[in-house]
Every structure is written in structure tokens, then in C-alpha cells.
């Protein structure tokens, strides 16, 4: 079982596939939940206070815009906790946390320079592309400790073993 960072950090498909293989996706939503459930909501709606962009200094210098540092204070801890990472190139990005290209560039760079297994795939626009992406991700997840061939683990999550790759 490995904690896998994903980029985009709020991707439905990536989080879903990682869970299917019994690993833990490091999703943005958990970070946000922690923030917004703070009993002292000083700065609605996200409860990002003046302190957060300052905490973001751990990842980017003071000359970097406050919005980048504020976002990094949420995304950064996910990168710190990552034991593996999947980065999707050309993925659709939502707005908000992942709406700033500079933050995304910095986050992806931080994941790449970390000494962990990293898979980079291309976001598909057709069926074959999707197959390629799914195959690459599944193979990568199998190769991680606690993943791969652990059909029992898979069955626990999925309900039935992930279809055999015999059909390749």
C-alpha cells in the first residue's frame, strides 16, 4: 500500500483507479476538508488566512504571488507525503485550487524532483488513448509495493478481481 500523489490533485479518474488497486490517493479534497472543518473559520469560504501564503514560503519564495503560495500551502503537504506519483499531461483543470498554471508547474516540478516512482501519462481524447492511459496507470500501480497481482486486495475494494490482463 502506497500513498500516491496525483496531478491534477482532484482528478476523479486517478483517485478512483488508485483506490481500485488498494493504494491511497493523496487527493486535494482531504486537505480542503481539514481546512474548512477547522472550528475557527476566520476566513471563509476556504479558510485560507494570511498565514497560509506565509506557510507556502516553504515551497516558493516571497517574490512569488500570494495566490501561488496560498495554493501551495494546500497542495504542498500532499507532495511531502507522496510515496509515488502519477502526473497527467494535458489534463483538464478545474478552477480554484488547480486554476493557477504557475502553481501547477511548481507542484509537478516538486513531484518530479522527489526521489519517488513517477508515472507521466497523456490525457486521452479517444478510446485508444484512454486504454493506453488506463493500462499505463494500472501497470504502474501494480509495480508499486503492495500493488500488482494482489487480487485479494483488489477484490476487497472492487468486489471482484480486476479483469485478468490475459486479453492483451
Amino acid at each position: 500500500m502506497v500513498k500516491v500523489a496525483i496531478y491534477p490533485p482532484n482528478s476523479l479518474i486517478l483517485a478512483d483507479l488508485i483506490e481500485r488497486k488498494g493504494h491511497t490517493p493523496l487527493a486535494l479534497q482531504k486537505q480542503i476538508r481539514q481546512k474548512i472543518k477547522d472550528p475557527e473559520i476566520d476566513s471563509p469560504p476556504m479558510n485560507i488566512t494570511e498565514e497560509d501564503p506565509i506557510n507556502g514560503l516553504k515551497y516558493a519564495a516571497i517574490e512569488v504571488p500570494s495566490g501561488v503560495r496560498g495554493r501551495m500551502s494546500i497542495i504542498g503537504p500532499l507532495i511531502d507525503a507522496a510515496e509515488a506519483a502519477i502526473i497527467v499531461d494535458g489534463a483538464p483543470f478545474g478552477f480554484g485550487c488547480v486554476g493557477c498554471a504557475r502553481t501547477n508547474e511548481l507542484s509537478i516540478f516538486c513531484l518530479r524532483k522527489k526521489d519517488i516512482p513517477v508515472l507521466e501519462v497523456v490525457y486521452p481524447d479517444d478510446e485508444d488513448g484512454t486504454r493506453l492511459m488506463v493500462n499505463q496507470i494500472m501497470d504502474f500501480l501494480d509495480s508499486l509495493p503492495g500493488g500488482g497481482g494482489d487480487l485479494e486486495g483488489d477484490s476487497d475494494v472492487l468486489g471482484e478481481p480486476i479483469a485478468n490482463k490475459g486479453g492483451k
Binding site: P8, S11, L12, A15, R33, K37, D128, N135
Partner: protein, 159 residues
């Protein structure tokens, strides 16, 4: 309608509990189950969770262990048509509810886009097969020149 965007929410006990998590359940368009079947199934599980029917599937909220159990059971219903991810805000949180805060939700459009390939993802999981995609290289300068000259000649001929 209150238009104060950064409304300070009056959260209930459960909403403030860090052990309470929220999950979005999204059905691919080729899913073998409907939104109502999903919601009924979740109710039949008789777990202490809040279940909400939504346009994309459902949203459940409750103690993390029960939410996980519900997801585990639910996936069995249609392993290749049901997808799920966490959500930061609780269902109906005024800070993210369209009713209170105009404009699109931050992550909604990304989900809308990812939804478009969910069928393919389900199919790829169900019947995996190797694929190869040829990566196109940019044309060489020589080839570009060749085409350019060809087009020029064509124009000359037309005259």
C-alpha cells in the same frame, strides 16, 4: 437570496467532525445502474450515512469507516460503471452550494470533462487490451519546403 459569497457557515456537529467524510459517486453514461438504483442500494445497506441523490449519481456523507464500507459494497453493483472520489465540502455547505454562491463550482467543470471519458475507462478496465498509439513528429523543414514549392507550382499552373 444572500449574496454574501464568503458566508460563515453555521455548521452542525457532524459537519465539523474531521472523521466525517463526503464522497461523490459518479456514474458513467454506460453504467448498468441508474442514479435511483444507486440511492436505493445505499439506503438498503442500512449504514449510518447521509445519502443525497444528485444529477451525476449520488453523494454520501458520514463516518469514514461507514462511507468506505458503502463504497466497497456499491462498487460490486457495477464495477466498471461506478466511479467515486472524495469531496472536501459537506453536501449543501453554503460555501459551495450553487443556491448561495453564484457561478460555477471550482471543480465541477473538471469533473464534467473527466466524465466524458469514463465510459472508455470502464471499458478499458473490463476488457483490457494492449494498444499502441503512433506519436506524430513535426514535419521536417525539407518536407515543409517541398510542400511549399509544390503548392507554388500548382498556383503557377492555375494561372
Amino acid at each position: 437570496m444572500p449574496a454574501n459569497l464568503c458566508i460563515t457557515p453555521d455548521l452542525g456537529k457532524e459537519d465539523m467532525d474531521p472523521e466525517v467524510s463526503t464522497r461523490m459517486i459518479i456514474l458513467s453514461s454506460k453504467a448498468n445502474v441508474s442514479e435511483s438504483e444507486v440511492v436505493n442500494f445505499l439506503h438498503m445497506l442500512n449504514l449510518p450515512i447521509t445519502i443525497k441523490w444528485t444529477c451525476y449519481g449520488a453523494m454520501i456523507s458520514g463516518k469514514d469507516e461507514y462511507v468506505r464500507e458503502a463504497i466497497r459494497e456499491l462498487r460490486k453493483l457495477d464495477p466498471y460503471g461506478i466511479f467515486t472520489k472524495e469531496r472536501g465540502f459537506a453536501p449543501g455547505d453554503p460555501r459551495r452550494c450553487r443556491g448561495h454562491r453564484y457561478g460555477p463550482r471550482e471543480g465541477f467543470h473538471q469533473m464534467e470533462k473527466e466524465f466524458k471519458i469514463l465510459d472508455y475507462v470502464g471499458e478499458a478496465l473490463k476488457n483490457p487490451r494492449e494498444v499502441e498509439i503512433e506519436k506524430k513528429e513535426p514535419v521536417s523543414v525539407d518536407y515543409f519546403k517541398e510542400i511549399l514549392e509544390e503548392e507554388e507550382n500548382k498556383k503557377e499552373d492555375d494561372k
